[in-house]
């Protein structure tokens, strides 16, 4: 069993800090408290060209990290693929994963094993309005990790993800604004725009003048901080203000 006070202290730090150095230190301490060797927390993005607002922290050896990035292992990583569509943490390697490994994925595992990273516990992260991500604790020996470590790791990782959100907000230099609240009419205009209607067509459908329709659209774009029209639908989908069924007329 691991040290309870150490664990709670680490989680409390993660619950408060907006400093990514402290997040790193806390995760490193947590890794050892729980009995693992290495941690890696990141969004599942192209690590060679990460988009703004995506982050990652790890204490992997720098040559392993270099190999992952230059070899683009993140494109095929079986652990990352296992995160799709699940919210629960999982141990790896596991039978389901091993059944479906491609030769390249087998190679990625072998390369990790050479560096004593033979297994681990990974917690996926999916929140609306965010890139998918995960946090992995890796180890040379899965059988030495106590079973109590899993729920404890899950909780701590949730705190860590929230800490990194605060870091990103601070870095962005502005407070994260909630998605704009649109009036029902504005949402109707947005959905019709997303279905590819012109202002003229929208005006006909909603029995408005074209000028008024245009005004609604401008108001929506202003509510989003003056983004461009071709970015508007993507943002509204991302924030859950409109849904794919609505845009694809399946509603």
């Amino acid at each position: 069993m691991f040290d309870r006070d150490d664990y709670k202290q680490v989680v409390s730090i993660l619950g408060e800090t907006s400093d990514d150095n402290r997040v790193y230190e806390a995760l490193e301490r947590l890794t050892f408290v729980l009995g693992f060797d290495r941690f890696a927390i990141s969004h599942h993005v192209d690590l060679l060209h990460p988009p703004v607002g995506a982050y990652g922290l790890t204490n992997y050896d720098s040559d392993w990290l270099n190999e992952i990035i230059t070899g683009q292992y993140f494109l095929d990583d079986p652990v990352q693929i296992s995160c799709d569509g699940r919210n629960t943490g999982f141990l790896w390697p596991n039978p389901r994963m091993l059944e479906t490994l491609t030769p390249r994925q087998r190679y990625i595992f072998e390369q990790g094993a050479k560096r004593n990273l033979r297994g681990g516990y990974t917690v996926p992260m999916h929140l609306p309005g965010e890139y998918a991500g995960s946090c992995t604790f890796a180890t040379s020996r899965l059988d030495t990790v106590p079973s109590e470590a899993m729920p404890a790791a899950f909780f701590a990782v949730s705190f860590a993800f929230e800490a990194m959100r605060r870091v990103v907000r601070l870095r962005a230099g502005l407070e994260l604004r909630a998605p704009p609240k649109l009036k029902p009419r504005e949402r109707e205009v947005l959905i019709l725009l997303g279905r590819g209607k012109t202002y003229g067509e929208i005006a006909d459908i909603l029995h408005l003048s074209e000028h008024t329709t245009h005004e609604y659209a401008k108001r929506i774009m202003r509510a989003y901080g003056n983004i461009q029209r071709n970015n508007l639908i993507a943002r509204a989908l991302f924030d859950g203000i409109v849904t794919y069924p609505e845009l694809l007329s399946m509603h």
Binding site: R4, Y7, K8, V11, S12, G15, E16, N87, T88, G89, M125, L127, P128, E148, M150, P151, A152, F154, F155, S158, F159, F161, E162, R165, R166, R169, E175, L176, R177, A178, P179, K181, D239, G240, I241, T243
Partner: protein, 208 residues
């Protein structure tokens, strides 16, 4: 709108509370499969729904339930103190300044964006209520399906013990600390909803 009710009422006495208990049954029993009591086959009501419970309920324009949450005083029986004290390393936090949050319920059928809005409104109301009543903290039992929602509200949360597997989910006891800075933390996280809490049983949202 958001309304606050102090004290449980029996089925049939208050349609707003009835709607809440019905929504709780749909979520906790029908959807999540919890083994909790159901009354008249439609209401989820447990031993803690008594005279001392406080309910914060969000309703839409037609009065239908959109979301709700229950506050229980900790110096009386409550979920953490009575059922899950083993989730606390030290003694269960109790006192007049600590309440427990439980039964956070968002109506099934709300769109994703509306769910977030209602969740944010309930959290804002819970914080305002705390500041008005001198509540310094809210304890709660959180499983993995709610944890990131609770944390993403932006308030300061501390673990009360080591999380354990309960009913197949990582579950832990948490303490949400409330002070004068908490509304600013909700704003920074983008979850604060402008509202006034009136000293009566009803509060209205300020026009945005």
């Amino acid at each position: 709108m958001i309304r606050i009710f102090e004290g449980h009422e029996p089925p049939g006495a208050n349609p707003v509370l009835d709607a809440m208990h019905h929504a709780r049954k749909r979520v906790f029993v029908d959807l999540l499969g919890w083994d909790v009591p159901v009354v008249a086959e439609v209401f989820e009501i447990d031993q803690f729904d008594d005279d001392h419970a406080i309910y914060i309920i969000a309703s839409d324009d037609s009065g239908a339930h959109e979301g709700s949450i229950r506050l229980l005083p900790t110096n009386r029986p409550h979920v953490l103190g009575t059922i899950f004290p083993s989730l606390c390393d030290a003694s269960v936090p109790v006192g007049p300044q600590i309440f427990e949050l439980s039964r956070l319920c968002l109506s099934r059928g709300l769109r994703a964006a509306r769910r977030l809005e209602v969740r944010n409104a309930l959290a804002t109301a819970v914080v305002q209520f705390a500041l008005q009543r001198g509540i310094a903290g809210y304890s709660c039992v959180a499983d993995s399906s709610w944890l990131s929602q609770i944390l993403s509200l932006g308030w300061t949360v501390r673990p009360l013990g080591i999380p354990q597997m309960i009913a197949g989910l990582p579950t832990g006891a948490l303490l949400i600390e409330i002070d004068a800075d908490t509304p600013a933390k909700l704003r920074a996280a983008g979850t604060h909803v402008p509202m006034r809490i009136l000293p009566t049983a009803a509060i209205d949202r300020e026009a945005a």
